[in-house]
C-alpha cells in the first residue's frame, strides 16, 4: 500500500461537490484529512491518500480532470 500527501485546492464551483468522498468510493483510496479551510467560495484540503499506486494515480487524474488543483504538501520542491 502506498501513501501520498497532497493538497487539493477547489474552485468555487466544486466546493459543494463531494469530490473526496467520490474519490474514495470510485478508486478505493483511503482519504485522511489533516487540515482544511473550506468556505462558500473556495476551499483547500490537506490530506493523505492511501491505496495502491495505480489507484492513487488514477484517482488524482480524475480529481485533476474535474478541476481540482493537486499539489504535493509543502509547496514546490524546486528552488531558485
Amino acid at each position: 500500500m502506498a501513501k501520498r500527501r497532497v493538497m487539493f485546492t477547489f474552485p468555487p464551483e466544486l466546493v459543494t461537490e463531494p469530490v473526496i468522498y467520490n474519490l474514495g468510493q470510485q478508486f478505493h483510496v483511503i482519504t485522511n484529512i489533516r487540515r482544511a479551510d473550506v468556505t462558500e467560495d473556495r476551499g483547500w484540503v490537506v490530506l493523505e491518500l492511501e491505496g495502491n499506486d495505480d489507484d492513487i494515480e488514477r484517482g488524482i487524474a480524475w480529481v485533476t480532470a474535474k478541476g481540482v488543483r493537486v499539489d504535493p504538501i509543502g509547496g514546490d520542491v524546486m528552488a531558485g
Binding site: 500527501r5 490537506v46 499539489d71 509543502g74 531558485g80
Partner: protein, 409 residues
C-alpha cells in the same frame, strides 16, 4: 553544541526531535527549529559576535549546528552599502543595498546551503541533493565538493548555459530533466521519498532555512546594531522574507537591538506572484500559479512558505509588490548604472519595487531602508542581453574611432 532544542510544527505546535524531517506527522504542516533562547542569552553578546569569523558563522549561537567544524566556503558578511546614487533616483536619502552577489557562488543561497550541508554531515548522509532553477544548484554542488559528499542536482533541461556550467564545474551529478515545471517538481518529490539522500530544501529544510536569518543579523550589526525601518526582499518560496524577520526579532529578544519596527515588503515578478495576489486579495491563502517570467530564481508557482510570508507582512505592517519583466530589466540596469552592482533578475524585481514603494509614499525620504540583492547578474545574462547599448565597433585606427565618436554624439 547548538542551542536548538526541538523541531516544532508551525501549524499545530507539536514538537519533534532534531532529525532530518520536515513535515508534522499529525497535520502535515512544516517544521521549524526551536531554540533555547534563555541559554543563548547567557553566552551571546555584541562583542562576542564582533570577535567571531568574518562571515555568516559569527552568528553560530543562533544556528542549529552541533559540529565544531562547519562546511563553509566563506559565505556571508557581505557588503551593506549606502546607495546614495540609487536613492537620489527615488528621492530616498537613507537607502542601503545589501549585496549578496559577492557570496562564493554568487547568491545568498550559500548561507542556507552552508547550514544544510553541515547538518547533512552531522546526520550521516553520504549524498546531498536539490532541485533548482539555478542558484541553489550551484551552491549545493560547491559545498558538496568542499566536504567530499556526493551530490545530485536536478535542473530543468532548458536552464541557462551559465547556470549549467556554473553547477557542473564543481563535479556533481547534474541531472537535466526534460519536462515542464510541474513534472520536474513531481519527479523530485518522488525521488526524495525513495532515496535516502539529504535533499537540502526538503528533508533538511527546517535547518536549511535558518541560514537566511544571517541576512537579518548582518544588516542589524552593519547598521550599528539597529533594525532598518523598511526591508525590501525578493520572494520565491517566502522563506527568506520570514527568516529575515525572525532573525531581527531574535536579536531584539536577546537584547542585542531595540524593538523591531521594520516593515517587510515582499516583491515578486508579475508572471509568478502568488503571494502578492493573496496579499492584494486580503487573504493568507496562496493559490498556486504557473510561473511565466524571466525572473527564474523567483519562479516558484506554489511557494512552500507563502502563508508565513503573508503573516510576516501582516505582523510587520509591510506590503507586497509585483512588477513586470520590463520593469525588472530597467531595475537591473539602474542598479548597475548608479551603484555599480550587477544583480540578477531578482535584484531587478527589488529595485523596481523600491521605485514603486517610494513613489507611492510607502517609504519616506529619510526612513532607513535596506534593499536585499540576493544574486549576481552574470547568472541571468540572457534576460538583459537584448536591452543593452551595443558596443562601438571600429577598425584599428584613430580615424575610425573618432568617426564612431562623432556618430554617437
Amino acid at each position: 553544541m547548538s542551542y536548538a532544542k526541538a523541531l516544532r510544527c508551525r501549524e499545530c505546535g507539536r514538537e519533534y526531535p532534531l532529525e532530518p524531517i520536515h513535515v508534522c506527522e499529525f497535520c502535515f504542516g512544516p517544521l521549524e527549529v526551536e531554540y533555547d533562547y534563555d541559554a543563548i542569552s547567557q553566552v551571546i553578546s555584541r562583542e562576542k559576535i564582533a570577535q567571531g569569523p568574518i562571515g555568516m558563522w559569527r552568528y553560530r549561537d543562533l544556528l542549529p549546528v552541533d559540529s565544531e567544524e562547519v562546511v563553509d566556503i566563506s559565505a556571508g558578511f557581505t557588503p551593506l552599502i549606502k546607495a546614495d546614487n540609487l536613492g537620489r533616483e527615488f528621492g530616498l536619502r537613507e537607502l542601503y543595498v545589501k549585496n549578496d552577489c559577492v557570496n562564493p557562488t554568487y547568491s545568498f543561497k550559500d548561507r542556507v546551503v552552508s547550514v544544510a550541508i553541515t547538518k547533512a554531515k552531522e546526520f550521516g548522509f553520504d549524498t546531498v541533493a536539490c532541485a533548482s532553477t539555478g542558484n541553489l544548484a550551484c551552491s549545493v554542488a560547491a559545498h558538496a565538493a568542499k566536504c567530499g559528499l556526493k551530490a545530485y542536482v536536478f535542473v530543468p533541461s532548458d536552464l541557462e548555459q551559465g547556470k549549467m556550467i556554473g553547477t557542473a564545474i564543481y563535479g556533481p551529478t547534474l541531472v537535466a530533466v526534460n519536462g515542464n515545471y510541474d513534472e520536474v517538481n513531481r519527479l523530485c518529490s518522488e525521488i526524495s521519498d525513495k532515496y535516502r539522500w539529504a535533499f537540502v530544501n526538503i528533508n533538511i529544510r527546517p535547518y536549511y532555512s535558518e541560514g537566511s536569518k544571517t541576512l537579518g543579523y548582518e544588516v542589524a550589526e552593519q547598521l550599528g546594531w539597529r533594525a532598518p525601518e523598511h526591508a525590501v526582499v525578493p520572494v520565491a518560496s517566502g522563506s527568506l522574507l520570514s527568516k529575515i524577520w525572525k532573525g531581527l526579532n531574535e536579536l531584539a529578544l536577546l537584547g542585542l537591538i531595540g524593538p523591531v519596527k521594520t516593515r517587510m515588503y515582499a516583491t515578486q515578478a508579475e508572471g509568478s506572484a502568488p503571494i502578492v495576489a493573496a496579499f492584494r486579495a486580503g487573504s493568507t491563502h496562496v493559490h498556486p500559479v504557473r510561473p511565466n517570467t524571466i525572473v527564474k530564481s523567483l519562479a516558484i508557482g506554489n511557494p512552500a512558505e507563502g502563508y508565513f510570508a503573508l503573516k510576516t507582512i501582516q505582523e510587520s505592517q509591510g506590503a507586497a509588490c509585483a512588477v513586470s519583466d520590463a520593469e525588472v530589466v530597467d531595475g537591473m540596469k539602474l542598479l548597475a548604472e548608479t551603484e555599480g552592482i550587477f544583480a540578477e533578475t531578482a535584484g531587478g524585481v527589488v529595485v523596481a519595487s523600491l521605485k514603486r514603494l517610494a513613489a507611492e509614499g510607502a517609504i519616506k525620504p529619510d526612513e532607513l531602508t535596506v534593499a536585499f540583492i540576493t544574486g549576481c547578474g552574470l547568472k541571468t545574462q540572457e534576460a538583459i542581453a537584448g536591452s543593452l547599448k551595443p558596443p562601438l565597433t571600429i577598425d584599428a585606427n584613430l580615424a575610425s574611432f573618432e568617426e564612431a565618436l562623432k556618430e554617437q554624439a
